[in-house]
Symmetry: C2
Subunit: 207 residues, 2 copies
DNA sequence: ACAAGAAGCGGACCCTCGGTCCGTATCGTA
DNA sequence: TACGATACGGACCGAGGGTCCGCTTCTTGT
């Protein structure tokens, strides 16, 4: 039977309806507020978010798939400016920066981002079950950092080094030091920068 | 009224009944097996453990308080030999070791422990809600490592450095590299040792 | 402008899982 | 052996993620 499908080609999804996009945005805003004010990320339930957004629970799941998807979407929205600054911004974050300068800048950017979005980052990394290492965002950070590290002459094991450096800015560690122990922001940034410098110091320790 | 309590002193708990200790042991054995064979730590439920141990669920909770307590007990049992080797064993792990040698030895020990008890460590650190940084075990590792680092002349920021180094052997990172990406054990140990050396190289880089 | 049908809505509902309750069985002891 | 204390265990509960389905709202062809 010649089913007259118009265009079943590679774009099976048409643009969503107006109310759908509006609800999606409302959900993101509500979730953002809830995560920002909550005590711990898991005290924010999907039902809470739905209620705060004035929306049914099913709408959340339709829009984001599951809780993980919602958190990812939130995270991506917050992260976007930082990601742009890294991909196409000016030094010291952007591409045209000497590796020995760019590595500490990248890590400082990650640290500041997590300090500014503590609960959200905590929610993302604290998702039980699948580790944060399978998340798209992590692969991106790691890929970028590794690429920069590989351009440093004399430095070996760039892949593991990138993992280890990123581990130093894990959300729960940041939360523990900055939140629980009250370590001041600038102190933590300084500590991280000093640590990074130590890691990079071997071989090319000139300045 | 002269209540003739024999010894109500600082030990209000008498020794447990025979079946209680037996059941506790059975639970630990069963849980150990389940965690060792499972796909992901949260696929092991308390009901599973109870069934595998041939015991009622309530018995588990009576013996360990909650799921966290059970995992902690398991972890502690596994960790005990390593902890003894660190506290009172021979070099290079034990106390009488020069700091520059002991730090990599400590980290290697942690890494090997997590490689050998991957699922268990993953279960412990992956406990949603409270971060691993509030766990007794972590404070111990961190305290020990920091103390050793502080004895290295010229090294600053021992506290943060200890956190950062321990972050490099987080259970989920180990699982990601060794388990998911198939990185060989010896390769990972070498990478970690090289990274540690870099961190320690500044200032006292003589040998 | 209007009707038809697709897309979306929402809250009642289900399921799993950690944790508790309480009647019953077992242990330790006089 | 008898009696109190302790432990047992499975039915039960509440919370939270995720789904179902009858109803509403948007879009589009004419």
């Amino acid at each position: 039977m010649p089913v007259p499908e118009p265009v079943p080609e590679s774009a099976p999804d048409r643009k969503p309806r107006k109310d759908a996009t509006r609800n999606r945005a409302a959900a993101l805003v509500a979730a953002d507020r809830l995560f920002a004010h909550c005590e711990s990320p898991e005290s924010v339930t999907m039902a809470d978010i739905a209620a705060a957004a004035g929306v049914g629970k099913a709408t959340l799941f339709r829009a984001f798939g599951d809780r993980t998807g919602l958190i990812h979407a939130l995270y991506a929205a917050r992260l976007e400016p930082v990601a742009r600054a890294i991909d196409e911004g000016p030094p010291p974050l952007g591409p045209g920066t000497p590796p020995l300068l760019r590595v500490p800048a990248l890590l400082d950017a990650v640290l500041c981002f997590k300090l500014d979005n503590r609960h959200l980052a905590l929610a993302l990394e604290g998702i039980g079950g699948d580790s944060p290492y399978q998340a798209e965002h992590y692969r991106r950070w790691h890929g970028t950092l590794r690429a920069v590290l590989e351009r440093i002459p004399g430095l070996t094991g760039a892949d593991f080094t990138a993992h280890a450096l990123l581990a130093a800015v894990r959300a729960d560690l940041v939360e523990h030091l900055a939140g629980r122990q009250g370590l001041p922001r600038e102190r933590m940034r300084a500590d991280l920068t000093a640590f990074t410098a130590k890691v990079l110091s071997e071989g090319a320790a000139s300045s």
